[in-house]
């Protein structure tokens, strides 16, 4: 089933390329899906490095005892147990320690729902109308949110920053590298696709129903999605006609861009991924039908505490799940949350990620994964640790559309690496060194590599 998923992704990439090709030939007056807010990310110093002696979980289901990782130009050059270390390479002896790929949080609001979470800078929900596909989370991100630093201390190297779930269409999410930066552009993950945040259930219907407007029910939610997709299809059609006329040298009316429809059209064209907040299994099944009605693919259901009830369906459709292990119960649609969710999904061949939705939980996705792993073993699902590492590394990379770039320790991918003091499934494990693109961005034993955000700097209560 994971194979099926990969196949679908490659189709999406193809459509992405063809769109870019086309855009290269289009004039600025036609709709543009190119990126007007480019990344300025700079990986920083990354000397050739060899990390030796550790137990390595590569994120792809392998465990290497006493392994070596060679890093060059910020990429993994070689990984294995019998690798000759070339001379002139910086050597880090990690004997007795553990290594995983950098932790990836597939559902975060750091920077948009920051700490301190005070009115002046909470920018997560544009909750004034149920469809706000036009807003982009990156335009809310406050890079000085101290939560970024705390997450990095927990081994988090990449995050998907999403708008909130108050709306049916919440807006665009953006993938960031968890590096200290004064600007959001300096964190933006180069080449990562955008995501559209959609939300089912209680949040949108509760938010707008309470205001006496639609959606007030789940059927109202679905009518809202369908109305938007009908308009997006129409928009796409008009744009294509306009494009063809333009290409054929015929006169065409100037095409006026619509930011919301542009994002939705990006989904229909396969350029933009869909991250769908949805708790209940019956609602997820409806959302799958909505996606089929309009010809788009849902990349992942988020929270999805009832996903375990529809494992066959999710496997068949190649949809990933980003979920918790322990959270649930706080509202009706979370009533059937079980700790065994991730293990049951994994067993069914579904790509599953343990996500946070919380700047506190983001710091310990390894431990939250251990809880999910233990829950599976309790009911006889014996998943190995080397497989479960995928829940906070390679699987979220798939959900973010960046698995060709990071998420596992294989030659050619980014050297996003965490050295842990102990087995990462142990509660006593702490991240000792965190590399992003081969550059040391956090070190537990060196203050020089412990970034303090401008907000924390100089406060009276700085911890020892």
């Amino acid at each position: 089933m994971i194979y099926r998923f990969r196949k679908m992704k490659s189709v999406m990439y193809l459509s992405c390329f063809s769109m870019l090709f086309f855009l290269g030939n289009s004039s600025a007056s036609t709709v543009s899906l190119s990126n007007p807010y480019p990344s300025t990310y700079n990986p920083g110093d990354n000397d050739p490095t060899a990390i030796i002696g550790a137990t390595i979980f590569d994120g792809n289901g392998h465990r290497i005892e006493g392994g070596t990782i060679l890093i060059e130009h910020g990429k993994i050059k070689e990984i294995g147990s019998n690798i000759a270390v070339p001379s002139g390479v910086k050597i880090i002896d990690a004997t007795g320690r553990w290594i995983t790929p950098g932790v990836i949080d597939s559902h975060s609001h750091i920077g948009v729902y920051p700490a301190p979470a005070v009115r002046g800078q909470v920018d997560v929900n544009e909750n004034v109308e149920p469809n706000t596909s036009q807003v982009w989370a990156e335009h809310s991100i406050w890079p000085e949110d101290p939560s970024f630093d705390r997450a990095r201390e927990g081994g988090v190297t990449t995050l998907l920053i999403l708008p909130g779930s108050a709306n049916l269409f919440g807006g665009r999410g953006v993938v960031v590298k968890n590096v200290p930066s004064v600007t959001e552009q300096g964190m933006k993950f180069p080449g990562a696709p955008y995501s559209l945040k959609m939300a089912c259930g209680e949040n949108p219907k509760g938010r707008y129903g309470a205001k006496g407007r639609s959606p007030a029910t789940r059927m109202g939610n679905v009518a809202g999605y369908r109305k938007a997709w009908i308009e997006a299809l129409e928009y796409n059609k008009k744009w294509k006609i306009s494009r063809e006329k333009h290409e054929n040298g015929q006169s065409a009316e100037a095409f006026k861009r619509d930011l919301a429809l542009e994002t939705e059209a990006g989904v229909l064209n396969g350029d933009i991924l869909v991250q769908n907040h949805c708790y209940r299994s019956d609602e997820m099944a409806v959302m799958i039908d909505v996606a089929k009605e309009f010809g788009y693919h849902i990349t992942a259901f988020h929270h999805a505490v009832e996903a375990y009830k529809i494992r066959k369906l999710l496997a068949q459709e190649g949809i990933c799940v980003a979920t918790w292990s322990g959270r649930g119960g706080f509202k009706m649609e979370a009533y059937d949350a079980i700790e065994e969710n991730a293990a049951l999904l994994h067993q069914a061949g579904i790509c599953v990620a343990i996500h946070s939705d919380s700047p506190v939980l983001s710091q310990r996705l390894n431990i939250e994964s251990a809880v999910a792993l233990a829950a599976g073993r309790r009911i006889g699902i014996n998943i190995s640790e080397e497989d479960a590492v995928s829940w906070f590394t390679s699987n979220p990379a798939k959900i973010l559309g960046i698995s060709d770039k990071t998420g596992s320790l294989v030659p050619g991918k980014s050297a996003d690496v965490v050295i842990w003091s102990a087995d990462p499934f142990s509660v006593y494990a702490v991240a000792e060194d965190v590399f992003i693109d081969g550059s040391l961005k956090y070190s537990r034993n060196d203050k020089k590599y412990q970034h303090v955000s401008d907000f924390d700097l100089g406060q009276h209560a700085e911890a020892p």
Binding site: A115, P116, A117, V118, P146, S147, R150, E202, S281, Y308, K309, I310, R311, K312, L313, G326, R327, G328, G329, F330, K331, M332, Y335, D336, A337, I338, E339, E340, L344, A348, P359, V360, Q363, R364, I367, A370, V371, L373, A374, A375, R377, R378, I379, G380, I381, S421, F425, S426, V427, Y428, A429, V430, F455, D456, Q459, H460, A461, E462, A463, P464
Partner: protein, 420 residues
């Protein structure tokens, strides 16, 4: 600890001739008693729901049921010092939610013992995480009314069945800082005066009860029920449970202790590490959520995962709790482990979820450690109890093994062999 083992040994000898059919002996166990050194390859004798002896080479009473624990780890059942267990089923469903305190008519007088729902699913979840006792606290209702106090807390056992209430009126809650302002006055400057005014009224009420009864009294802000609830606080019989985060707010609570000779427990206390010595000297305990390490508000700028370790090293009695008051009560054991990895000495780790919370709320005569005379509330673990990969294999309350089948686990079992 040596003394305990000796005593245990002695009473076990006496038992040889006294053993009855309801005596159980748990042998071949690594027992971490929660107050003192671990007993490796030890035994524990339980009779009539109470612990009779814990120790190494304890002679087996004749006729006792022998349970071989095959080298497993045994700890006291954990005590969560700050929960809403039994007060709420689905927080967003108002009808199931009794966590909120009173109105301007009733403040400290609110009493959670009357709201306890023994069938709450959250109680099952907590028990599965090895929690056998919990303090249930009312929250302070926010609004325009002047309320100040949250109400009276209770202690429960997470026993399956209707009889969960263990002790009513084990403390009275009070919020300081931002939450206090939301329930008291318009600022900290007003809130602290209202708190003092209330405590002064209680002192007067205690002194001149007869005059109050015949209506010869100046008007008081708080009702009779509120005053009655606060009397044992001023008598130092039960603690005032004070929610405070900022160091300066915590010091205001310390001032109350000095002025009114109160016994208090701090809840939250993100910046408590900054005033650790003062808290240790005043013997003020702190209920800590180690994972609360972000400056979520301006009163938590000093929040750090090192808080628990810094406090414990300074000699402050701390109780560690899970990540919320309901679903995640069970996560207290992971939080102990994470705090241990960040400075909490392992020798003090187990105390934070056993004997420390028991002492904070005056429950240490019956729970909190596995020593003679206390309730046989204990957990058999598959490994290190603070590790997520370890599981509670069996949970005993008053010597009775409890079912570990929450609604969540029933769902997992139903769907493990079935899916659409």
């Amino acid at each position: 600890m040596r003394g305990y083992i000796f005593l245990g040994f002695f009473s076990a000898l006496v038992l040889i001739h006294n053993a009855r059919a309801d005596t159980s002996v748990y042998t071949n166990a690594h027992i971490f008693p929660g107050d003192g050194a671990p007993v490796i390859d030890g035994s524990m004798i339980v009779r009539d729901g109470k612990i009779v002896a814990t120790g190494k080479n304890v002679p087996l009473p004749v006729g006792a049921r022998i349970i071989d624990l095959e080298g497993k780890i045994v700890t006291p059942g954990f005590i969560s010092a700050d929960t809403s267990l039994g007060l709420v089923e689905v927080p967003s469903v108002g009808g199931t939610n009794d966590t909120r305190g009173g109105t301007s008519r009733l403040s400290a007088g609110v009493d959670v013992q009357y709201a306890l729902n023994s069938d709450s699913n959250y109680i099952d979840l907590a028990r599965e995480g090895g929690v056998t006792s919990a303090i249930v606290l009312p929250e302070v209702r926010t609004g325009d009314d002047v309320i100040v106090f949250g109400g009276q807390a209770a202690s429960i056992k997470t026993v399956r069945g209707l009889a969960i209430l263990s002790h009513a009126k084990v403390g009275v809650t009070l919020d300081l800082g931002e939450a206090g302002v939301a329930t008291g006055g318009s600022s900290r400057a007003a809130d602290m005066v209202l708190v003092r005014s209330a405590l002064d009224d209680v002192k007067l009420y205690m002194k001149k009860r007869a005059a109050y009864e015949i209506g010869k009294f100046r008007p008081l802000t708080f009702s009779r029920e509120d005053l009655d609830a606060l009397v044992p606080v001023l008598e130092r019989k039960i603690p005032l449970i004070v929610s405070a985060h900022r160091a300066s707010d915590i010091l205001q609570a310390v001032n109350l202790v000095k002025e009114y000779k109160l016994k208090i427990v701090i809840r939250g206390g993100e910046e408590a590490w900054r005033v650790a010595k003062i808290l240790a000297d005043a013997d003020i305990g702190v209920i800590v959520t180690p994972t609360s390490d972000l400056p979520e508000t301006f009163e938590k700028l000093g929040a750090t995962m090192k808080n628990a370790g810094l406090l414990a090293k300074a000699g402050v009695k701390i109780a560690i709790i899970g990540n919320d008051k309901t679903q995640s009560v069970r996560e207290l054991r992971y939080n102990v482990g994470m705090a241990s990895a960040r400075g909490l000495p392992l020798s003090k780790a187990l105390d934070t979820v056993t004997i420390n919370p028991a002492k904070m709320f005056g429950l240490d005569k019956t729970v909190g450690s596995l020593v003679k005379g206390k309730d046989a509330d204990f957990v058999v673990w598959s490994g290190d109890p603070f590790e997520p990969l370890s599981q509670a294999l069996s949970v005993y309350i008053a010597g009775v093994e409890q079912p570990l089948l929450s609604r969540a686990r029933a769902l997992a079992l139903r769907y493990s062999g079935f899916s659409q």
